[in-house]
Amino acid sequence: MTAMKTTAIRWAVIVGTIAAAITPIAARATDPVLPPPYAGVYQPQGVDEIGLWHDDDDDEHALAASPLVIRDEKLTAYVKRVLCDTVGDDRCAPIRIYIIREPAFNASMSPNGTMRVLSGLFLRVRNDSEFGAVLGHEFGHFESRHTLAAFKGRRSGTDLLAWTALLASVAPSYGMARSYDDLRYSVYGSIFRHGRDQEREADRLGIAYLNHSHFRPQSASVMWHTVMAEAEASARAKGLKKPNFKTIAFTASHPPEAERAHYLAALAAPDDAGRADGADRYRAALAPWMPVFLDDQIKLNDFGGSDYLIENLAETGWTAPLWLARGDLYRTRGAQRDYANAATFYANAIDLDPTLAPAFRGLGLTLVKTGRTTEGQDALRRYLALSPTAPGAKLVRMMVPQGTNP
């Protein structure tokens, strides 16, 4: 009995030491500080980092040839500009940007300086400052070499488990097996917690870049509020329980959104709240792509989330593409009550841009569905006049009476 107790205590001590060893939590300073000035071209150090970069170089080769990458020089240059404005020209110079056509909210940066931006991100931010907040956060991971630290943490944690499993199997008492289980949970928990602490550190760095840039640092917190509101709107429309933004699951890779919104607001330099947020520049840069990204989003069939995103983007003013997207969203959900709304939204789009052919198509189809066939056919005729060679024009032509085709 006594022997078992001593063993248990010894194990508890080991568990504690190991858990502490693989989670190097930096002491929290009150103000976010920038790392030392950029020291020029960095080359990987040691076998682990050289290996990681090697793998990453291979990934980048594949990425550069990927059919999902949006090869638009202007858009890529704009993303690079926002990154440079956020983190400084010296830091951003060696970074390569790849914009990937995927309608999800994400961006990432890998060890060799490859930045991936998913197209869905463009719908979740509304100005340069919010966009810069995301890019700065990802750059923070890169500058702190988080991938390497996480890899080393996982390796030491799992090495330890392998050895203790071996030792536990030859141990003379049953208590060992239980202690091994405890240790296992502790190590895995530490690995996940380590990941969350890295996210917090990247958040702090991100806000430090923003504080030192010409962007409005309060935007970082605003962006997280947008993300939470979108998730709530999506859940509400699906009749699901409201998501909880405060709890941390055992395996959560990121800190809860509410915590992030809160500390990002607290860390933003209060004097800089009056800075311009760059909404006009953002709109101008995204104008050619916004209809495409909106279309990608609404076709995901997430009614609540999409409607929220459209309204959120429209906070700085409704545009024809936003009304068109909303019309398409309501028309494709296809409840009878949606058609009345869809017709109004298409009409709003046409008011703002009387040459927007897809709006006439949507309006025409919607009116036909609600029994207003004559008006619907008029709208479809207008669509055919504006866009006679569009895919589907021949089919639409069959919907309008013969002899009146344009």
Binding site: S66, P67, L68, R101, E102, P103, A104, N106, A107, S108, S110, S119, G120, V134, H137, E138, H141, G195, E199, K238, G239, L240, S253, H254, D296, K299, L300, N301, T332, G334, Q336, Y339, L365, V368, K369, P391, G392, K394, L395, V396, M398, M399
Partner: protein, 198 residues
């Protein structure tokens, strides 16, 4: 905002493989023998041997292939009623798919397939290449082609024929990698969908 954990993918792939194992009862569909598809009255007469996959994508759907569904995939959607999605939803509540409705127009069918593919496969790169009128099953229908890039980064091309009969949707799609396979088997796929009767 970090890359997804690869081991999750491996676990998911393994569990799918394990679950799918008992259902691998594929059937041979022999040349010249007329058969009904997707538990409906839709009948086709293949001009060469095809494999019918044991697992169907939905209640009113059935998939045939020559070399495996990743390389060439003919899917029959037969008698989709208003209010139903094209394929079985993974979760009715969490990941709902677009539904065929009583007011869906023939010209909107390509949109329905596009929305289903995008939602089901979480893809962002889907382009409708062409849409044309066609006679299908003796009714006015739509013939459309599309390109999309799946998670495996392989660009696939598809050609579909669809129509609405008695308020129900009938559609036959052929999807294959744009490189080599699409052109290689398009003739066989067209012969198959051309033989369809109700």
């Amino acid at each position: 905002m970090t890359p997804r954990l690869p081991h999750r993918v491996i676990v998911a792939a393994l569990s799918i493989a394990l679950v799918a194992m008992p259902a691998l009862a594929h059937k041979l569909r022999e040349k010249g023998v007329a058969v009904t598809v997707a538990d409906s009255s839709l009948t086709v007469t293949p001009t060469r041997d095809w494999n019918r996959l044991g697992q169907s994508p939905g209640k009113h759907a059935e998939t045939w292939t020559l070399d495996g569904e990743q390389l060439d995939d003919v899917t029959f959607y037969a008698g989709i009623a208003p209010g139903e999605p094209l394929v079985k939803e993974r979760s009715k509540k969490r990941d709902p798919l677009p539904k065929f409705t009583a007011t869906t127009q023939i010209v909107e069918i390509p949109e329905l397939l596009e929305g289903t593919y995008r939602t089901y496969k979480s893809i962002g790169a889907f382009t409708l290449v062409s849409t044309d009128p066609v006679k299908f099953l003796g009714h006015d229908g739509v013939l459309f082609t599309y390109d999309y890039t799946d998670e495996d980064l392989l660009t696939r091309r598809g050609e579909a024929r669809a129509t609405i009969v008695d308020g129900k949707l009938y559609m036959i799609t052929f999807d294959a990698p744009r490189l080599y396979y699409f052109d290689r088997f398009l003739g066989d796929a067209r012969a198959l969908s051309g033989s369809a009767t109700l």
